[in-house]
């Protein structure tokens, strides 16, 4: 009997758990370890953060799903992995320690939100809001509604939304938040009293950490920079990109831009995405020695079958440098999925300021990308258990992804940007154009249809990730 342990039940971990449970749950031991009892549908927290959706609608309990799939659920925090014994050390939620054995381990922990990486960042010890966890989204909503109350009294308020670290990722979520804030303030009739500023570490507007998107439209190339610039102009949102946030005080954000110029921006409300690092997991050997060097990159993310250390220019010429099966080369029983795997480098062009500050948007690995990697890893483990040979693989340089960025949740007059990119990481070998992408598949448009799709996707994904009828037919 094979033992498979999965740490984390986000998009990647949950997808892997369903495929593994479905194929192996009856005869083998599949265990999911997660700190929370519920699955969290993160993409809808932009709506929770403005009070348009109760947080409960974005959660469902994991254990009943696993019971149907023959998967064991351990509610607790994985603190370490004894690599030679092949056990995960878990601090159980109710107290006490449990050791979970494995033949194959999937690390799908999601990120550690590195609020400490920027002084004054975050809702707990700092001065900014976040929509990266359910409690944070609720707290952001409360703070936002306080601002709305002030606006309704006639006060002017300054909102700054974007990234809170020079190396942050997930610009898409912040973009959704600022456009939803705009739409909500318009609906409440107070938009004219609010100043909205987009503050981001992107190279250009619409970069989103994937080096932007370009599509052919009516004989010309339309870039995501032009597209997002047009949206911000339409919405009256000011923007400041090429900027790394260095620290916050109660009402001021200190930053440095690409030229090395330093400055400050005042705010009344800010929602800034922190840098993502790996969750703290101690990988130890037979005698308790630290094996982190074999398994973890310096940022705490799990090293997989990627070629690390290539200079950026070299990386852009080597699509095969991106991992295919997401397996650790030193300890092949360990896989990583979703944000937990260490990418070989950035997708967007990195930049170092004259003062030495690295301002580089990290590659996004959330949503569809996480789900796809979770599926690939699960199918390969099923292969290993059944036949001993892996037959699946999908690099981000050959992966398609669709991103639907909400820009107002109303099903009557809402909107969303629908962005499809193929491949996620440009491959200049297969697509020798400036973008390194298939310009017939890559697509970008905005409209009410996107708002319907965003809502539909929440319903269908929650259905899929609950493992309900037909879940396999719904794409990740």
């Amino acid at each position: 009997m094979a033992k498979v342990a999965i740490i984390g039940a986000g998009f990647a971990g949950q997808t892997a758990a369903l495929y593994l449970g479905d194929a192996l749950g009856a005869e083998h031991e599949i265990t999911v370890i997660n700190r929370l009892r519920d699955f969290s549908y993160v993409p809808s927290w932009v709506w929770v953060g403005i009070g348009h959706m109760p947080v409960e609608k974005t959660l469902f309990p994991l254990e009943p799903v696993y019971r149907r799939f023959g998967v064991r659920f351990v509610h607790g925090k994985a603190t370490g992995v004894r690599v030679h014994e092949r056990v995960v050390v878990v601090e159980r939620d109710g107290g006490g320690e449990e050791l979970i054995g494995y033949d194959h381990l999937i690390v799908a922990t999601g990120p550690r939100l590195d609020f400490e990486g920027t002084e004054g960042l975050g809702p707990e010890a700092g001065y900014s809001q976040s929509i990266c966890t359910a409690p944070h989204a609720v707290r952001a909503r409360d703070a936002y509604l306080e601002e709305v109350a002030r606006l309704e009294k006639g006060e002017r308020r300054r909102f700054v939304i974007g990234t809170g670290h020079p190396g942050a990722t997930c610009q898409g979520a912040a973009f959704e938040y600022i456009t939803n804030v705009h739409k909500d303030l318009v609906r409440r009739g107070v938009r004219d009293k609010a100043d909205l500023l987009w503050l981001s570490n992107e190279q250009a507007l619409g970069d989103f950490g994937v080096r932007g998107v370009a599509v052919r439209r009516k004989g010309r190339t339309l870039t995501s920079e032009e597209f997002i610039s047009a949206v911000f102009k339409e919405y009256g949102i000011r923007s400041q990109v090429r900027t790394g946030v260095l620290g916050l005080t109660e009402d001021t954000i200190a930053w440095e831009d690409f030229q090395g110029e330093k400055g400050e921006t005042g705010f009344d409300f800010s929602m800034l995405i922190p840098r993502f690092l790996g969750q703290p997991l101690a990988f130890t050997g037979r005698d308790g020695e630290d094996l982190s060097g074999d398994i973890l990159a310096p940022n705490g993310l799990v090293k997989v079958d990627a070629r690390y250390g290539l200079p950026y220019d070299e990386l852009t010429r080597q699509p095969d440098a991106w991992p295919r099966v997401y397996q650790n080369p030193v300890h092949p029983e360990i896989f990583a999925a979703g944000i937990a795997f260490a990418p070989p480098g950035p997708i967007s062009v990195p930049h170092v300021t004259p003062g030495g500050t690295s301002i580089s948007a990290a590659p996004p690995r959330t949503g569809m990308v996480s789900g796809i990697i979770g599926r690939v890893v699960a199918l390969n483990i099923i292969d290993l258990v059944k036949t001993g040979t892996m037959t699946h693989g999908e690099r981000m340089t050959e992966m398609y992804a669709a991103c639907i960025a909400s820009m107002g949740d109303s099903l009557w007059d809402g909107s969303a940007a629908v962005i499809m990119i193929y491949p996620v990481v440009p491959d200049h070998v297969r697509y020798p154009n400036d973008e390194g992408r298939d310009l017939f598949v890559t697509h970008m448009e905005m409209g009410l249809a996107g708002a319907w799709m965003k809502r539909m996707i929440q319903t269908t994904f929650m259905h899929k990730l609950r493992g309900r009828v037909g879940w396999r037919f719904i794409p990740e």
Binding site: L222, E398, A402, M420, Y422, L448, G450
Partner: protein
């Protein structure tokens, strides 16, 4: 959207909120996603 500096025109605004047209785009975009997923899996 038009021009070297792209801006959203009145025609774009009407198109983006035209329910019938957007229903058509909803169908087309879903089909495009399914097609894209299929292309990706074959890579």
């Amino acid at each position: 959207m038009r021009g070297s500096t792209v801006e959203i025109t009145e025609k774009d605004r009407r198109r983006m909120n035209n329910k019938l047209l957007q229903f058509w785009r909803f169908v087309v975009l879903n089909l495009k996603i399914l097609k894209g997923v299929d292309v990706s899996k074959r890579a």
